[in-house]
Amino acid sequence: MSDSAYIPSAASALPAAVPTAVSNKTVTLRHSALVRVTHWITALCFFALLVSGAEIVISHPRFYWGEVGNDLTPTLFKLHIPASRKLVPTGYGYVWPDGNGWGRYLHFQAAWVVVLTGLLYLIFGWLTGHFRKSLLPRRADLSWRAMSTAIVSHLRFERPSEAEAWSYNLLQRLAYLFVVFVLFPLVIWTGLAMSPAFVSAFPSTVNVLGGQQSARTLHFFVSLSLVLFLLVHVGMVWFAGFRSRMRRPRRNNTSRR
């Protein structure tokens, strides 16, 4: 195998298929079609949400805690950037052009697409046992020894064995589980908790977060966590060799038995 077997990394946020029958000319894909498609729709939507989210934030780059916050109240923190509204006291003379119209349209449209895609992925993952097989840590991986070995080899950027390249290691599994089942649900929840109409029907969704401005601040930090994940994820894929990871039919004409 060439560099394609290098891991500590992931080809995508989503899971691996272990080839069962391999002959010389068989084309084997690491991931199922649905996992690939949902991954790339999610990637596209995430990019759209990030750009539009940044666009919305610059109209008021101040963050608060509790129910209310505005130019007259103290901030929790502020971003030291110009705003797209001249009333916001940023300390800058420059005012960005207003992009909140398309920003909000794009943000909510991308949110819909990513939520529906996520639902498809969850149903698929449940039905096929994908989460259990590919994402839940194997019992053997959960001993202290196995965990410390995984962490140390990860930190050393050690090449994994060939077999390992076909499934996720412990750290990948934990990272993906965290993104799929913690960060994504949280970012959706904190987003909905900012909607005045949604919280009129489900007030506890915002009340337990401490208020509308708390929801906004949490939304910002959960989004930052997702961006951090994305950077590590893309960095790892790059280290592992993007081409071999991403090239669609993974030709299996090297000896693999």
């Binding site: 899971p15 298929a17 272990v18 080839p19 069962t20 084309v27 084997t28 894909l29 690491r30 199922s32 079609a33 996992v35 919305i56 934030v57 109209s59 008021h60 101040r62 129910e67 209310v68 916050g69 505005n70 130019d71 007259l72 109240t73 509204r85 001249k86 009333l87 909140n100 119209g101 398309w102 909000r104 349209y105 794009l106 909510f108 449209q109 991308a110 949110a111 819909w112 697409v113 096929t128 994908h130 097989k133 590919s134 900012m194 909607s195 005045p196 109409a197 949604f198 919280v199 009129s200 029907a201 007030p203 915002v206 009340n207 509308q212 401005q213 906004r216 669609r248 039919p249």
Partner: protein, 262 residues
């Protein structure tokens, strides 16, 4: 995934059965979408800005909100949570007409109501105040991200709509500001909602000009830009196409969503 999926479907595998099944599924899908679209229209789940590239997201949002939150009440807060002072967003410099009315302490301010109503009428602020006044302590949220809580005092819009006798086929209320090119519209679910107020007071006093005094449409389940200041005119209609560019509001014409409950 027990089996790795194969990268290609070989042409031989594209059997007649597969083609027929795919065809039927596609046809059913298209027919299903058609039926869904018709039902959505019938039950008022399609916003006026459903066209264009953002139509999908806007329609999903509006339809979901109408199915989930038609009657729900915006959160109300305690008196101790009222923001002091409330933040007044920027307003356009007042027109000469506004200055004249302001000089007369808004005694000559009029709200006219027409359209699909049995008894078109005009109200002064004092006349509006003659109806039982209602209060709500609710949050005003701006689409930019900031917010404040205030006590809003006014008459529910439903009271005025009842007075002018709205016709059964009415679907929207269009509302206009004294400011040029400033108007918005809401569906009947929001127009008849108990927290949708024609607001003339705030925090125990008159509604300050900075907050839209003497008359502001208060709609706590939608963000700030739908809460239009300086209201002078309402029209009840069953069709928004005849207003402006047909997307239901000056903000929608300026590239902002018509439904702003999100």
């Amino acid at each position: 995934m027990s089996e790795p999926s194969s990268g290609k479907v070989s042409p031989s595998k594209l059997s007649r059965r597969k083609l027929i099944t795919t065809g039927l599924t596609a046809a059913a899908g298209v027919a299903g979408l058609g039926v869904a679209a018709r039902l959505a229209q019938k039950y008022g789940l399609v916003p006026p800005d459903h066209g264009g590239i953002w139509g999908l997201g806007e329609t999903l949002t509006y339809a979901s909100q109408r199915l989930l939150t038609r009657h729900s009440l915006a959160r109300e807060f305690s008196r101790s949570q009222i923001s002091k002072p409330p933040f007044a967003n920027e307003i356009e410099p007042p027109t000469d007409e506004f200055k004249r009315l302001q000089a007369g302490r808004f005694a000559d301010w009029r709200l006219s109501v027409n359209g699909m109503v049995a008894r078109p009428a005009t109200f002064s602020i004092d006349q509006l105040k003659s109806y039982p006044s209602h209060t709500q302590i609710t949050m005003l949220q701006c689409e930019e991200g900031w917010s404040y809580i205030a006590e809003w005092i006014g008459v529910p819009l439903s009271q005025i709509l009842q007075t002018v006798e709205v016709l059964p086929q009415a679907r929207y209320v269009v509302y206009f500001s004294i400011e040029p090119d400033t108007w918005e519209s809401i569906d009947m679910a929001d127009a008849l909602h108990p927290q949708t107020f024609l607001t003339y007071g705030m925090n125990g006093g008159e509604l300050p000009v900075g907050h839209g005094g003497p008359l502001r449409l208060r709609l706590p389940r939608q963000v700030g830009y739908k809460n239009v200041k300086f209201i002078t005119h309402l029209t009840v209609t069953d069709n928004l196409k005849t207003f402006g560019k047909g997307v239901g509001g000056a903000n929608a014409e300026g590239g902002y969503a018509w439904y702003a409950g999100i």
